[in-house]
Amino acid sequence: ADDLTLQLKWVTQAQFGGYYVAKDKGFYEEEGLNVTIKPGGPDIAPVQVLAGGGADVTVEWMPAALAAREKGLPIVNIAQPFKKSGMMLTCLKESGVADPKTDFKGKTLGVWFSGNEYPFLSWMNHLGLKTDGSPDGVTVLKQGFNVDPLLQKQAACISTMTYNEYWQVIDAGIKPKELVTFKYDDQGVATLEDGLYVLEEKLNDPAMADKLTRFVRASMKGWKYAEEHPAEAAEIVLENDETGAQTIEHQTRMAGEIAKLTAGSTGALDEADFKRTVETLLSGGSDPVISKAPEGAWTHAISDKALN
């Protein structure tokens, strides 16, 4: 079997259920692949691992991928299992945020950095709010790993994913009715998440291209299976979690939410989604994420072969 290494963006969880399902159910094996899945972490920059040769394929968000491309690291999107964005801003109702257009000013907002800040910055730019702490803007906190800033009331709003952090807030004992959420999708500033990326030069090697084709085909099979059997997917994820920290309840719920995001994706990148992401990023205010529309940042070469 051909060896292949996949670098995840984050720790083992149902967010990456499709890949674990494909591995566990033998979909990769059927395609003659021996796939190693490497979990990520808060300070792993997946594209850096890719550049260093530590992995063949990586799961990454498109803003970070395009930024890397502009920095001279030629990486290419070969498939896009996630159709929708799961990012949102979750606020405590008591902090008085109801309408993004008027109420953010002067508030403290928790934001993820390490390449995940771009959608937020674009959004604030759309709203015309400064993020440098000046009085007529917002105060930005670099949010850590968890939802504490909201629970401790250190921030009015924090970044959450529909499938994960939001539920942690709920689990902490805050009722949904006490919360206000703003999905990036709804605000028109959504960017593509969790695509599969490889180094450009790899595509020139027919053998590698073939391997990637088989990988994408098996992975999508895994994703579609996970979409239909979220409970089973969650169990598979749990078995693969080496930290032993995950709980079945949390993962089952996450698998259900993830299914909503992958639904509607065949695995091929939708060019319209790509354009929207690029536009969002280009309008990143004084310090845009990317300065010009990227060329050749994606290809259908693999997904076409894999899925048709």
Binding site: V11, G41, P42, D43, V49, G144, L151, D171, G244
Partner: protein, 287 residues
């Protein structure tokens, strides 16, 4: 036995203070919850509420104790949920890193004491090396090692070694320079070679400094390993445990992992203290 009573006394005082702090720190959340539910809490109810939260700001001692107990005794040792298993993973990297680091520190110190070139050139850069924030370069170290095909224990051990060599270096340089003028002169008058003066004078006089540094270094190695475990893909080890606990806001799990790590460090320090006592006694330095 001489130690049991004082330790217990201090322990009781700490636990008492901890409970008070837990009540104080967890009370706002309990009150908030009550307010959201539209009720208000009596004092006993409030205190009870602060003891049983699932995500307390500061978990009460018994909650942590239960967390540790579950992690240690509630699982098979080979289980991924067992703290013992995670501690074992961390310990192996810590020991490897500590061995590499303290050896490097000792060797560098020996070089510095004996060679003027090294004295002048190494020290400033050894200091500079320590100011490189490891958590920043830890992912890079991991990436670089991974690209060379080395994964698992070695990269973590390297980070541990990076942190632990410095205390040993500083302590040993000081210790090796401790012999006073007359002692050096004696060696000189016998025309002892540098090696002889080292083994028979410098090293024995450096022993107390060495052990003080080793105790610091072993704790540093543990920190290094845990740091190395954070970005290593959060797979196994106490660091991964801390991170995932932190990521899912499971305060009790964090504290349990934290105590496991601290216990590990304490055991390591105690082992070194033991070796120190025996060595110094056999050297006739402990009176």
């Amino acid at each position: 036995m001489k130690h049991a009573l004082p330790v217990l006394t201090v322990l009781c005082a700490i636990i008492l203070g901890w409970y008070v702090a837990a009540v104080a720190l967890n009370a706002p959340w309990a009150r908030d919850q009550a307010a959201r539910a539209g009720t208000s809490l009596t004092m006993p109810a409030l205190i009870r509420a602060t003891m049983t939260q699932e995500r307390p700001v500061l978990p009460a001692p018994h909650q942590v104790a239960k967390g540790v107990w579950d992690g240690v005794a509630g699982q098979k040792i080979t289980s991924k949920r067992s703290l013992v298993w995670h501690a074992g993973v961390t310990l192996s990297a810590t020991l490897a890193g500590f061995a590499i680091g303290s050896l490097a520190g000792i060797l560098l110190a020996v070089g510095i004491v004996h060679s003027r070139v090294m004295d002048l050139s190494v020290m400033p850069w050894a200091i500079a090396s320590q100011t490189v924030p490891i958590l920043a370069i830890a992912p890079m170290v991991i990436v670089v090692f991974a690209s060379a095909g080395v994964t698992g224990l070695v990269p973590k051990a390297m980070i541990a070694a990076w942190l632990s060599f410095f205390p040993v270096l500083v302590g040993m340089v000081k210790g090796l320079r401790t012999p006073d003028r007359m002692q050096m002169d004696l060696m000189h008058s016998w025309n002892a070679s540098r090696a002889q003066a080292f083994w028979r004078l410098r090293l024995p006089s450096a022993m107390p400094y060495l052990f003080a540094s080793l105790k610091v270094a072993v704790a540093a190695a543990l920190v290094g390993t845990i740091v190395g475990e954070l970005p290593a893909g959060a797979t196994a080890g106490l660091g991964a445990r801390l991170l995932s606990g932190s990521y899912y806001g499971q305060t009790i799990q964090i504290w349990a992992a934290l105590f496991a790590a601290a216990a590990l460090a304490a055991v390591l320090v105690m082992v070194i203290s033991g070796i120190e006592r025996v060595t110094l006694k056999r050297m006739g330095l402990a009176r």
